[in-house]
């Protein structure tokens, strides 16, 4: 008897945690999906209402702005963070004696919350207070850097702040990856006549493929969830030029009292997440079975 329990102990331990996950993740997703098919406004109601909320969603111009921003932002954010992360990791990999200190400097923005990040960057990027003003005070009277208040460019300020916050983390992941490449392989490449450039491009970076994947996933999930940063930096403005699906959803659910539309947009977001995560999980698990 005791032995039977003992044998099932792993399952007994995992099951409740799994059940909790099922409920809090999948239960809530199911709830959201259901709400997206109802006429919920201020508060949830549970009567089926068809696809009306989705029609509403896809007829709302602001949703398209949000989607477009998501693609612009995540594309740039992921690409720049990765490029910067790799670049910095490689720089730091050059036998720098004060590596520890520099690494900490690159990494610390990760520790700060969005309110802090947003507040400071808002100030730095504000044409009337920040860089533009300083440059003009210094005599460059034509210097213009008004992205924050320019609807066509505001989204890029979010990229700037986002990259500032996350590229250090990408750097840390890449650095860890670089360090886990077999030393002998690097020595072999050195003997094979490869200079540092060739060693990285030809040997080390290709070996980091799994790390690339991890970084892309982590950054993508930050990008999709990017709510805090937008709220803190631009509040979605100017206008709703920097709206993202997460802020869109939040605005409709909590400012507009349109839970149904919000739920519909949430479902669309979840679908996007699925499209990215499921292949990742697949490769992750296949890798584990090797």
């Amino acid at each position: 008897m005791a032995r039977a329990i003992e044998r099932r102990l792993p399952l007994i331990v995992v099951s409740p945690l799994f059940a909790v996950s099922l409920f809090f993740v999948y239960g809530f997703i199911a709830w959201t999906i259901w709400i997206s098919f109802t006429k919920s406004g201020v508060m949830p109601v549970y009567d089926f209402h068809g696809l009306a909320q989705y029609e509403r969603l896809w007829a709302t111009p602001r949703w398209y702005v949000a989607l477009k921003n998501l693609f612009v932002f995540s594309g740039l954010f992921i690409a720049i963070s990765m490029a910067l992360g790799i670049f910095l990791a490689i720089l730091l990999d050059q036998r720098i004696r004060i590596e520890g200190a520099i690494r900490t400097i690159y990494l610390y923005p990760m520790a700060l919350s969005f309110i802090v990040t947003g507040t400071v960057w808002k100030w730095i990027l504000n044409p009337g207070l920040g860089i533009e003003k300083v440059m003009r005070d210094w005599g460059f009277s034509d210097f213009t850097f008004d992205w924050l208040v320019n609807p066509d460019f505001a989204i890029y300020t979010i990229v700037i702040a986002g990259v500032w916050q996350s590229s250090g983390y990408a750097m840390a992941l890449f650095l860890a990856g670089l360090r886990s490449v077999d030393d002998e392989v690097i020595k072999a490449a050195a003997i094979d006549g490869a200079g540092p450039w060739r060693v990285y491009t030809g040997i080390v970076l290709p070996a980091l493929r799994p790390v690339f994947l991890s970084v892309v996933i982590i950054l993508a999930h930050l990008a999709i969830k990017s709510f805090d940063l937008v709220v803190a930096l631009t509040g979605g403005g100017p206008g709703f030029a920097t709206d993202m699906p997460a802020t869109f959803m939040y605005a409709f659910a909590f400012q507009r009292s349109e839970l149904g539309v919000a739920a519909a947009s949430a479902v669309m977001m979840l679908a996007t997440v699925c499209a990215i995560i499921v292949p990742y999980l697949y490769s992750e698990l296949r890798g584990a079975r090797r």
Binding site: V185, G195, P206
Partner: protein, 370 residues
């Protein structure tokens, strides 16, 4: 094509720890030098210094007469094969092999023909499009060899290239390497833990200990005339039996009286070991007898310098081709290598015969051969 290597008072420290403590060594072009020594004695470090994978702390490394202390590895005209093979995991076998030529901008067709030649030689031509992960240990080993060979450098460095292979494959690859060396005539420096490998491959063996080179000589000399106890004890499996004792002279003949031997055995030094200088009466010495020079009385053809003695057998270890008999003299475990048919029973007294012509004598204090 092959270059010689000279090391001049070479030293290397990592921080406060000295690892290479002043090595002088001249390797002729075309030689096959094997470095042996206990783990941590600095073999890999020495190889890395030659390759330029570590900077020297002091002293000089010369390859082909040129001082290469400040020359990066790629400009030293060397190739290296690593213990773990260090294949580039993301590149195919083909790309692994040609990588060194690509970086040197060798023309495409020259690359192709070199590749084809060595792939054929190493019998990996059917594997060219695989990734290293899809190869067996022996195949990886050959790819690593191919990568080194194809560049036709002046010097090859091998760091325990066979240690990850199983016994059978190891013997095969050993033969391959020997054949390749004979064919290509390049200078080779080869690190190994395996004594058979060292003995069979080397033109000269360098025995290292603790950052020094103890002896640098051809295999037979190393085995037959070790300069000191360390080298004597290091080469040979099972290792040479060492019997501490004292010299004494009787009737113009020198004998070794094993210390605290109740058995009152005395070994006559009637072979070359008795011809040395300074064999003063009462001198504390170590008598070295290799297991294969001790055998069952009457088991081998009669010869000069034979000495018979009896001792009770403690352990009988048949290994197949031979049987090891463990017995004691003066409380010291000694091993004799006898034929399987020379049956012995543990506990029973056994008549041994020893070829004193092959006995070695060392000073007990300094450990140097006499």
């Amino acid at each position: 094509m092959a270059s010689g290597i000279r090391l001049e008072n070479l030293r290397k420290s990592f921080g406060a720890t000295d690892v290479i403590k002043g090595i002088d060594m001249a390797i002729e072009p075309g030689e096959f030098v094997v470095l042996v020594g206990p783990s941590g004695c600095g073999k890999s470090t020495l190889l890395n210094l030659i390759a330029g994978l570590e900077t020297v702390t002091s002293g000089n490394v010369l390859i082909g007469g040129r001082n290469v202390n400040k020359v990066p590895p790629r400009d030293r005209d060397i190739a290296m094969v690593f213990q773990s093979y260090a294949l580039y995991p993301t590149r195919t076998v083909r790309a692994n092999i040609t990588f060194g030529m690509e970086t040197r901008r060798v023309p495409k067709d020259a690359q192709e023909s070199a590749l084809a030649e060595f792939a054929k030689l190493l019998q990996i031509d059917h594997l060219l499009d695989r990734k290293p992960g899809q190869l067996s240990g022996g195949q990886r080993q050959r790819v690593a060899m191919g990568r080194a060979l194809v560049r036709q450098p002046a010097v090859f460095l091998f760091d325990e290239p066979l240690s990850n292979l199983d016994a059978k494959l190891r013997i095969e690859m050993r033969t391959e390497i020997k054949k390749l060396h004979q064919r290509l005539g390049k200078t080779v420096v080869y690190v190994t833990h395996d004594q058979i490998e060292a003995m069979t491959l080397a033109t000269r063996i360098a025995v290292m200990d603790n950052g020094h080179i103890r002896q640098f000589a051809d295999p037979a000399t190393i085995y037959e005339n070790p300069v000191d106890l360390f080298v004597a004890g290091f080469m040979g499996s099972p290792p040479m039996n060492m019997i501490p004792g004292r010299l004494f002279h009787e009737n113009g003949q020198v004998f070794v009286l094993p210390r605290s031997a109740r058995e009152r055995i005395r070994f006559p030094l009637d072979g070359p070991a008795g011809q040395g200088e300074g064999l003063a009466d009462g001198r504390e010495v170590m008598l070295g007898l290799r297991p294969e020079t001790i055998f069952a009385a009457g088991a081998k053809l009669p010869g000069p310098h034979r000495f018979l003695f009896e001792a009770p057998v403690e352990v009988v270890e048949p290994t197949g081709p031979d049987t090891m008999l463990v017995f004691q003299i003066g409380g010291q475990d000694l091993i004799a290598r006898v034929r399987p048919e020379d049956t012995a029973t543990p506990g029973a007294t056994f008549r041994f015969e020893v070829d004193m012509g092959k006995a070695k004598l060392f000073d007990a204090g300094t450990g140097m051969a006499l």
